[in-house]
């Protein structure tokens, strides 16, 4: 197959979808490559470099579109490129099936196949083709560099002969790929870096990069990112409020804020409000990587750098990858090359567009005259979801039936016990004299009370319970006291001994209980 890459038409786009290195690899798969003249110039690749790599260089875009069976580019095609797209041609590029829905439909009508790079599913196997991640990585790095360029102080703290310099404090909001790259860059420049994300499970990653995770004082189970393909999902209003409160608290302390919070196919959430910007020190820098989707800070102006009245610089560039075109082109071209490897499994230059394959199916949005977006859910879960406790859901009737059965069993047991108890009591009452029965009633009632009371005793207090029951079982002292005065020497001796021993017990028991209880402390 012939793979062609035209010059990007988008204003200021410096990237190119094919590099001399990637072209060599593509040829190894049995493909041949063409490129429009000067397509790689902005990224630092000359036509000669391409020729040396065995790439045919054509003069015009029209010729390229005619020659290529597969067109690989960076930006989504514009109107004129859409016209050039022909049936049976395959287009590989960034292509938002939501924003560019009309183009997607027209491509499908023509019978062209469109593979959208942002639709590559987030599964381990597809990481090598994940252009969003590789671009985000660059954006995160560049955001810090761009911030540093506009920040009038050092990142790292220094103690010099000319005085002490405090380290810069950097907050990264959103610890996705871009956020993590920003954290890594920022910490290696020596700044004290803080990071926040709505997905609590990334705290570990954040901390592994050397930043401090900003925890909220908020008790709610956040949706595990694993359920939404590793992306953040929309959070509850309470959570959002807690998050804003935390940001407001730390805003005056921060020198550089880099916001990267994006939710797929939605406007960017507002995380850095106007009052937070106002509370920041003059000279502080905000880099809003979500500028393209409206910005995490509402003051952000897309594609521009502004300075607020209180001297805070807000950078809303959306072309960070393009600003590092050599690097980003290399990575993007490699992503494309990996995709082609998957598309040509036999390495014989024949493309097998396998719609059963999770990755290819997911990324293809138009194929065989059909719109194939949205794709079915991938067969493999993106990230192993944290196993949640499995609760067997009983239906209401089953629950009710179980309750009724339990209640019946309990009633039966209680009634049986009561009947047996009552029969025994009556039996005793038949033979025993009234004076005995009086005491006996007291005895039975006391046991009953005892059972009711003791069940409530906390497990951890069983030892004190034993000590205290020990002390009060020395109530037997009363028996000895009542008899000590009556008659014979033997009686007095025995009673005196009993009083003495129970005396030990009463004092010992209560004191040791008090000692133990005093030790129980709350944290």
């Amino acid at each position: 197959m012939i793979i062609g890459t035209p010059k990007e038409l988008f204003e200021g786009e410096n990237r190119v979808a094919m590099t001399p290195a990637s072209a060599k690899e593509l040829q190894k798969l049995g493909h041949s490559c063409v490129i429009e003249t000067k397509a790689g110039q902005a990224a630092g690749f000359s036509d000669k470099d391409y020729k040396d790599a065995g790439v045919e260089v054509v003069k015009t875009a029209a010729a390229l579109w005619k020659a290529a069976e597969i067109v690989a580019k960076v930006r989504a095609p514009n109107e004129s490129e859409m016209k050039r797209l022909s049936a049976d041609q395959t287009l590989i590029s960034f292509f938002s099936p939501v924003a560019d829905e009309a183009k997607m439909k027209s491509a499908a009508r023509k019978g062209a196949t469109v593979v959208a790079m942002e639709m590559i599913p987030r599964i381990s196997r597809a990481q090598k083709m994940d252009a969003l991640s590789s671009m985000a990585n660059i954006a995160g790095y560049r955001a810090v560099i761009e911030a540093g360029n506009n920040f009038p102080r050092f990142f790292t703290g220094q103690i010099t002969a000319a005085g002490k310099v405090p380290p810069a404090k950097v907050l990264v909001v959103g610890a996705g790929v871009a956020g993590l790259a920003a954290i890594g860059t920022s910490t290696s420049l020596g700044a004290i870096t803080y990071a926040f994300d709505v997905r609590p499970e990334v705290a570990e990653q954040v901390e592994s990069m050397g930043a401090e995770f900003v925890y909220l004082d908020f008790e709610e189970e956040q949706a595990d990112g694993a359920s939404s393909g590793g992306y953040a999902s929309v959070s509850s209003p309470e959570f959002a409020a807690a998050q804003l409160a935390k940001f407001r608290e730390i805003a005056p302390d921060m020198d550089i804020v880099i916001t990267t919070a994006l939710i797929p196919n939605r406007e960017a959430p507002e995380l850095w409000t106007e009052d937070m910007v106002k509370s920041m020190k003059p000279g502080s820098v905000i880099v809003d990587l979500a500028a393209e989707k409206g910005g995490n800070c509402k003051l952000t102006v897309m594609d521009e750098k502004i300075v607020t009245d209180n001297g805070v610089t807000i950078i809303g560039y959306t072309d960070f990858p393009s600003r590092m075109a050599a690097q980003s082109s290399t990575l993007y071209a490699t992503n494309i090359r990996h995709l082609m490897t998957d598309l040509t499994p036999e390495k014989d230059g024949v493309v097998d567009h396998d719609m059963e394959d999770d990755v290819i199916r997911g990324a293809t949005i138009a194929h065989a005259k059909d719109v194939t977006f949205p794709p079915p859910p991938p067969k493999i879960q993106a990230i192993a979801a944290q196993p949640k406790a499995e609760v067997v859901e009983l239906t209401a009737e089953e629950k009710r039936a179980a309750e009724v059965a339990a209640f019946k069993a309990q009633t039966k047991q209680q009634v049986t016990l009561l009947a047996v108890g009552a029969a025994l009591l009556l039996g005793v009452g038949l033979v025993a004299p009234a004076s005995f029965m009086q005491h006996f009633i007291v005895f039975v009632l006391a046991i009953f009370v005892g059972f009711q009371v003791i069940w409530g005793v906390a497990h951890s207090l069983h030892t004190p319970l034993m000590a205290v029951t020990n002390a009060i079982s020395s109530i037997i002292i009363l028996g000895a006291l009542m008899q000590i005065g009556s008659g014979s020497f033997l009686v007095i001796l025995l009673a005196a001994l009993a009083v003495f021993m129970t005396g030990i017990n009463i004092f010992g028991g209560f004191l040791v209980t008090r000692r133990m209880l005093a030790m129980f402390q709350k944290s």
Binding site: A446, T463, I472, I504, F507
Partner: protein, 478 residues
């Protein structure tokens, strides 16, 4: 008038005692509850001294004060690890007192009968004697049964507690031991007791009572000798219960309602504790009391794998990386006196922001709630000390579980191997944690003599050595 006052005081005391036990439902209310008990006891004793306890009140107070001084010494000096011994020793005192009071009642009966026979005027007799003098012959018969029971239970409590004390204090070999013939001796002694009861009921002589006392003392001795170390929580709570029933029986014979009420309270308390302990071991009360583990019901599962040892460094590294740690203390921690080291480890880990909790099995240690008291002594806050049911579900989310001196209560065979002698016993499922460290002296088996598959699991590492020394080594690395 005096008696009316005494009865009123008894009612108040009874209410206070009930409140005192009920207050133990929470750590904070418990501190108040003890005072209820103390006031109740003071009230009861004072009311008795003023009322029916006529004569010799000065002697009584002196004796109480003397006993109190000894009690004070004991209570303030005892180590928390010695708590089981103290409790057992105190039970024996209650048992012996019950025996004495029972004998006194018997002597009084004889004296009154002699006086009645001589036709002497009975008006200046002591209060108890006056009470007896009014009784009809049926009531006297019942009285005999009551005091007989009081002495019987008291005597069993006495020798049983003495043996339990000896075993807990290490003065008597804690292994289960029986005289040749086993339970036949107990049965014989019980038969003697029944025969003497009938004999005594008919004659009222001293000899059958004395004979029965000897039989009961023997039962107490032999019964407890036959029960091994790890069953001690059940034994101690059972003796606790007996001391209550003895008091209640004496209360019947003296016609004293307060004694009956308190005896019943204590008796039911001990019974419930025994029940809880037995349930925690999945064994019936009878099988515990009759002593020893039965032989295995069938071929036990063979344990595969090997025990892998680890040094303090490895444990320290794993703890540094862990976020949540659960510590499972057992009797070994008490023996090694390692609770302070455990508490120090907890403090350090908590200072690093890790979640540290304790999992307490109901029968860990030698006394119900023993571990809780030891940890409290070492100033571990009680709200991180969890019961088995509270924490068992959390083990899969736990990074590191540390087992310190426990064995059978963390044995997975209880769940996996239906032929295991401890099959069905609820256990702490610590093997579900990502990593388990077992601090243990050597490779031996636990009390029950059963191999513990936990030690052979892939995620288990054995941290051999005395618990205290091991923890010292560990603390120096954290």
């Amino acid at each position: 008038m005096e008696f009316g006052f005494t009865t009123a005081a008894y009612v108040v005391a009874a209410v206070l005692f009930i409140l005192s036990l009920g207050g133990l439902s929470g750590q904070e209310s418990a501190k108040r509850a003890v005072w209820y008990g103390i006031v109740g006891m003071a009230l009861a004793v004072a009311a008795t001294l003023i009322g029916p306890g006529s004569g010799f009140w000065l002697l009584s107070i002196l004796l109480i004060a003397g006993g109190g001084a000894i009690g004070y010494q004991l209570a303030t000096r005892v180590q928390m690890t010695q708590m089981p011994e103290l409790v057992a020793a105190m039970h024996s005192l209650v048992g012996l007192a019950a025996v004495f009071v029972g004998f006194i009642a018997h002597f009084e009966m004889g004296r009154v009968a002699a006086l009645v026979a001589a036709g002497v005027d009975l008006s200046d007799l002591g209060t108890f004697a006056a009470l007896i003098a009014k009784k009809t012959s049926v009531e006297l018969g019942i009285l005999r049964v009551e005091l007989f029971l009081g002495i019987f239970i008291g005597a069993i409590t006495f020798t049983g507690s003495v043996i339990a004390y000896g075993k807990l204090a290490g003065k008597v070999d804690s292994a289960a031991k029986k005289l040749p013939g086993g339970h036949l001796h107990n049965i014989a002694a019980a038969a003697v007791a029944v025969i003497t009861l009938i004999w005594y009921f008919n004659t009222g002589g001293f000899f059958p009572l004395f004979l029965m006392t000897l039989a009961a003392l023997f039962i107490g001795y032999h019964l407890i000798m036959g029960i091994g170390g790890a069953d001690m929580p059940v034994v101690v709570s059972m003796l606790n219960s007996y001391s209550g029933w003895a008091a209640a029986a004496i209360g019947f014979s003296l016609g004293n309602d307060l004694l009956i009420v308190v005896g019943a309270l204590v008796g039911s308390s001990g019974a419930i504790l025994s029940y809880i302990m037995c349930k925690a071991m999945n064994r019936s009360f009878v099988s515990v009391i009759l002593g020893g583990f039965g032989g295995p019901a069938g071929e036990q599962m063979a344990v595969e794998g090997e025990q892998i040892a680890i040094e303090a460094d490895g444990v320290a590294t794993a703890l540094e990386e862990a976020d949540s740690v659960v510590i499972i203390p057992g009797y070994g921690m008490a023996v090694a006196q390692a609770q302070q080291n455990v508490a120090e480890l907890t403090r350090r880990l908590r200072a690093k922001g890790k979640t540290v909790r304790f999992a307490i099995h109901p029968v860990a240690g030698r006394l119900p709630g023993h571990m809780n008291v030891l940890l409290a002594e070492a100033k571990v806050p009680y709200d991180i000390v969890m019961e088995m049911d509270e924490i068992n579900e959390d083990f899969p989310d736990t990074d590191v579980a540390i087992v310190i001196g426990s064995n059978d209560i963390v044995n997975p065979a209880a769940q996996d191997d239906p032929n295991s002698p401890i099959a069905g016993m609820p256990v702490l499922e610590c093997w579900k944690a990502k990593q388990v460290f077992v601090s243990k002296r050597g490779q031996g088996t636990g009390y029950s003599g059963i191999e513990n598959p936990l030690f052979f699991k892939e995620n288990t590492r054995m941290f051999y050595g005395d618990a205290k020394a091991s923890l010292d080594a560990l603390l120096s690395k954290i």
